[in-house]
Symmetry: C3
Subunit: 503 residues, 3 copies
Amino acid sequence: MLATGFPSGRAPRRLAPIERPRARPGCLVSAEERAALVDHRPGAVRREDRRTLLAVDLGLALVEGEDGRLPTVFEVQVPRPRDEVVPPLRHFRLEHLDQCLQFLHTHPEAPLASPRYHPPPSLPPGGCPNGPPSLEWPVRGGEGLLAASKSIIGNYFEDLTPGREIVHAVPRTVTEGDQALYIALTANRYPLACDAEFARRLGFRRELVDDLLVFHTVFGKSVPDVSLNAVANLGYADVRFGVPVYPGDTITASTKVLGWRESSAGDTGVTWVHTVGENQHGDEVLSFIRWVLMDKRDKATNSGVDDAPKTPAAVDAKHLHIPAELDLSRFDSAVTGGRAWWEDYEPGERIHHVEGVAIEEAEHQMAARLYQNIARAHFNAHALKGSRFGKRVIYGGHIISMARALSFNGLENVVRILAFNGGTHSNPTFAGDTVFAWTDVLERIDLGRPDCGALRLRLVGVKNSDPRTEEQPFKVADDQGRERYHPNVVLDLDYTVLIPRRR
Amino acid sequence: MLATGFPSGRAPRRLAPIERPRARPGCLVSAEERAALVDHRPGAVRREDRRTLLAVDLGLALVEGEDGRLPTVFEVQVPRPRDEVVPPLRHFRLEHLDQCLQFLHTHPEAPLASPRYHPPPSLPPGGCPNGPPSLEWPVRGGEGLLAASKSIIGNYFEDLTPGREIVHAVPRTVTEGDQALYIALTANRYPLACDAEFARRLGFRRELVDDLLVFHTVFGKSVPDVSLNAVANLGYADVRFGVPVYPGDTITASTKVLGWRESSAGDTGVTWVHTVGENQHGDEVLSFIRWVLMDKRDKATNSGVDDAPKTPAAVDAKHLHIPAELDLSRFDSAVTGGRAWWEDYEPGERIHHVEGVAIEEAEHQMAARLYQNIARAHFNAHALKGSRFGKRVIYGGHIISMARALSFNGLENVVRILAFNGGTHSNPTFAGDTVFAWTDVLERIDLGRPDCGALRLRLVGVKNSDPRTEEQPFKVADDQGRERYHPNVVLDLDYTVLIPRRR
Amino acid sequence: MLATGFPSGRAPRRLAPIERPRARPGCLVSAEERAALVDHRPGAVRREDRRTLLAVDLGLALVEGEDGRLPTVFEVQVPRPRDEVVPPLRHFRLEHLDQCLQFLHTHPEAPLASPRYHPPPSLPPGGCPNGPPSLEWPVRGGEGLLAASKSIIGNYFEDLTPGREIVHAVPRTVTEGDQALYIALTANRYPLACDAEFARRLGFRRELVDDLLVFHTVFGKSVPDVSLNAVANLGYADVRFGVPVYPGDTITASTKVLGWRESSAGDTGVTWVHTVGENQHGDEVLSFIRWVLMDKRDKATNSGVDDAPKTPAAVDAKHLHIPAELDLSRFDSAVTGGRAWWEDYEPGERIHHVEGVAIEEAEHQMAARLYQNIARAHFNAHALKGSRFGKRVIYGGHIISMARALSFNGLENVVRILAFNGGTHSNPTFAGDTVFAWTDVLERIDLGRPDCGALRLRLVGVKNSDPRTEEQPFKVADDQGRERYHPNVVLDLDYTVLIPRRR
């Protein structure tokens, strides 16, 4: 058993070179094409050539670099039956390739090619200028070198090119077990998610999966592909809650990249994505836009890309989905304990939700894991010792859930969430913090129905300060006079809910 | 966004006064009646009148105070369809009203009334001398001032007047998800709650919701109305376990106030309540009396009320509910691992339950949240920093569950809990404590059946001391020579269980 | 209420002696037989005789000791209906008997026998030389002395004699609630356990209970009888995963003792057991061999027993169970996100699973409790303060689950676990540790099917060191030059999985 370094005991073997014309810089080529240009004589192989050869050995495609620049490496797609949904390409982790190169650099005698290499039956006519390669070569077995490629380290800024679509892995059947855990982790009391009788009286088959549990499930699915390497989750827009989800339904998620903007320093960038969740019947249960601050893989290169999409300031009323089965004629406020109706909430009104709840490491970890959200900021205590905060950061969605559960006290008659118009995790939350919440009523939205209306609300989460009894500013000016969220303010969520009208 | 203070940007507007005769002190009147007495000329409105006017503005009823005393304010009931269950009144939080008054005091120019105010079509003939008002006016929308009233801060001693009945909000469908969590949080092994095959052989449709999970669910429902502001949960009596609860059943809870006794200092008081839980068919699944030490809202006034109910020393045998479907002919002790039967437990016998289990913050928080028990003593670490213990106190019911789960070792054949005769959370438990338990057999109760009998047991919970191997007194004398529970003793529960007789 | 010491207020009463011939040393006899030899005159009863008389009083059987040696005491079996499964004997806790003796020693005036004692109708013809007794006397009711015996303290090395069979108590219906918790505690993403649609496409009725949740459930059942007093769980062999378990299935477990080997010092010993789990239809869902380092009850006596069984180095391919319903024709790697197939995994290849996850006390306690695993090393913080590590040790199975969940990244297409060939919890893990994992591909096993093959993998768990980026030896030499696992290596699991072949 090897202790460190290169995983395989077997030495990789030398590549059989292929003669090919030189590819155009910036153009996608097969690694084989590029490899044709390499001088394979012992001692003559340069570092960038070694990378190319490795890529060939691994069955990869390359984007040809400029002279003296290392090529970007793309992974090839595995062949698939024609009638199957084909997920888009995942980008190979260059980092792994560089680890291999590091090894090769210190072991220049190591041969490179694999005897398992065979030229693909048909190479593309000359590389393709844009987009992912259409090549369909098999992913080659490891021989040691491919090992690292079987696991995914997550995408970087460069990987999420606008227009790219990703079907996220591992759909999730949400059960009453998940619902129980959601309640145990948040103290959620909105009765539509915990009282089957109430739900039936409102026209549903049984209790519904809580709106935010749906949100977290879809969000969690997107993490491995979108935000595993995110520096920060910056915001949400146009978040629409669709058809109700019942325990037993299975949720699938997919994401399309909407746009990107590199930072002026070139070391990070903001990526906009649109994620959609569907149930097993293909009905949309949720869709949302979010934008994320991403690390760049190659921090030294500044591409200057700036293609940020426009996002709506609020979800248009015509996109607010009222479940077809909803029947409020038997809505009973004895069940909710609520005393106020749509008409009773006045814009400008503030509702303090009174209670505060401390959060423990075990709780937020269990919450994020329940959603199969594997973002390392919430889990990898070892790695985070060296991070900015030195510790685990609580999944922002958990804070939304905590604040939302607290908000039941004062919003008891709210039936469901219709939309997030926008939202910001304005400061991080850590284990040991106590979270409080208040709601500002922003707008009463007439849905043109006699039975219910919508309320646009601002849900604010605050940590370690009881805003009902303590002086707690919302925003403060920083040293440069810019308005910033007060450090205790951890959530600013502008969202829209459905609530019955007074009868 | 306002950082603090009064929530609405809009100023409330002036009241149209109504001429009415002066109400009798101590008598319930409508706010409108009281408002008729107010001199509304600018600068002439006194503080107590401002409160009255606010109450009118909010659609409230008042209990007329003595001269110079602020009136107590009651919230009016919303109108309801006749065929719906009508919950009793919730008491308006005077504290909120005082926050509004504080604002008005510092902003005397602010007008008071709302243009939305309209005199109720029919006023009651002259107020009512006792009890909650029978008025049925709509709760008026906020205009800023009602904002705070939408959330509930919980009742105080004065609010829980004997005879008052409360239907608790948010019935709960208990699922196999809750059951799984209950097991994960307690290590419960009684097979009726985790072995569907065993349950079927005993005549049940499937496994049952654990008796204590039912208890905690009903108890949790009562917390927002009964014990949110409780200083301490003092004791239980006459706790009867009714028809079995199956996963999927929905539990509703209601409470009637039985009596009260003010402390001699007048700053607190003890309140006795009777709480009943029912399933979706209206069958009683649990009923219990508990008494709670409550904070008073007005600590300066000593009413001297002393109307404590009598509680039975033990649940009468005729109230022990044996499920009709129970068939012990196929009871198999290979399933339970138990070796002892009803006849084998001798009064005077002590059974040490051997194991000890540490409790973490995350665990007791998840347990209490699972039961939707929002008592702040278990959660609000921020506020509790200034409390007597300086930290979160574990929900006493969780300790019952821990001790009960430990008790399986030695009571394996027990089928279910029939009753709590009495119980005391004798000392608080905190995260990090390790809990142990023993059982003293108090009595063998002959149920007049050949298949089973009842055992009256004392379940004692101890922290941070293994009573099987360490010297662990049960009670000790304090400085004044009074007998007190040893500080390590955290639970003293006198309860009755059902167990098969030897065949 | 007695604070400590002897539990009953009632004094036990004197035995009516029975005349019997002297039993042969080392032979199993009834306590009554032995009691016939005792000189009952006041003051004449010796310590070992008192033990004998107590045993009679408790309805026990004895293994006759040598002269001057205390006899080993066995508990007798309760009578059972003929058509019921009869569990094997549980061994009486001698420790409890010794506590009683201690009491008697300091209270020599206490009479011994019970008036409830009656000679059994038929005594066995003359004791039995080997194995458990076939006597069928009732367990006698307490009278104070039996009290301690009602609870179980767990078996010691001496108690688990080869050939002994134990049906474990408390079968467990595994629900979707358990599954949800399993996901929340491990972040498990293998879709067969969380995507009902995927499972249906593969021929199953719905999602399956995760393989490791089945493992832990069966393992947990065995703990009270096998490993409650284990010093360490040393290893696994021949672990076979059987028919799939669906949510709602009920799992029963039983164990047969395969062999034992006393340590040369005589204070501990290794016990090999074979444990089998079955569903409610009697289908085998799991079977495994494990060996455990046990404390000896009597550390002073060295029996020299050495009867270790042979365990296979790997589960034979013919014992790998492929579910009959499995249909891979509709296997969709878009669901798993996997890109590699059976053919793609090369022996010698190493797959780093990238992420690391911290573990909290609450999490591992909830995990072990979910499995109803009550081993005190995971829970009893109070007792463990004086232990080798001074704190709770995480259930090794939880580490397997954590590592397995991490392994999804790189093994996405794996359908299920077929076998553990061997496994070692090479070092303990504690709360606060961060766990990482890698997989070494050991072997590609051709199952003779066109649709799938098996992979033999080594799953290695590492704590507090990221083996992908940090120098992390697997084994190191200790002071004596022996090869040991590096202290960070917490799991070395050799297991076999099922994975589709490329189509």
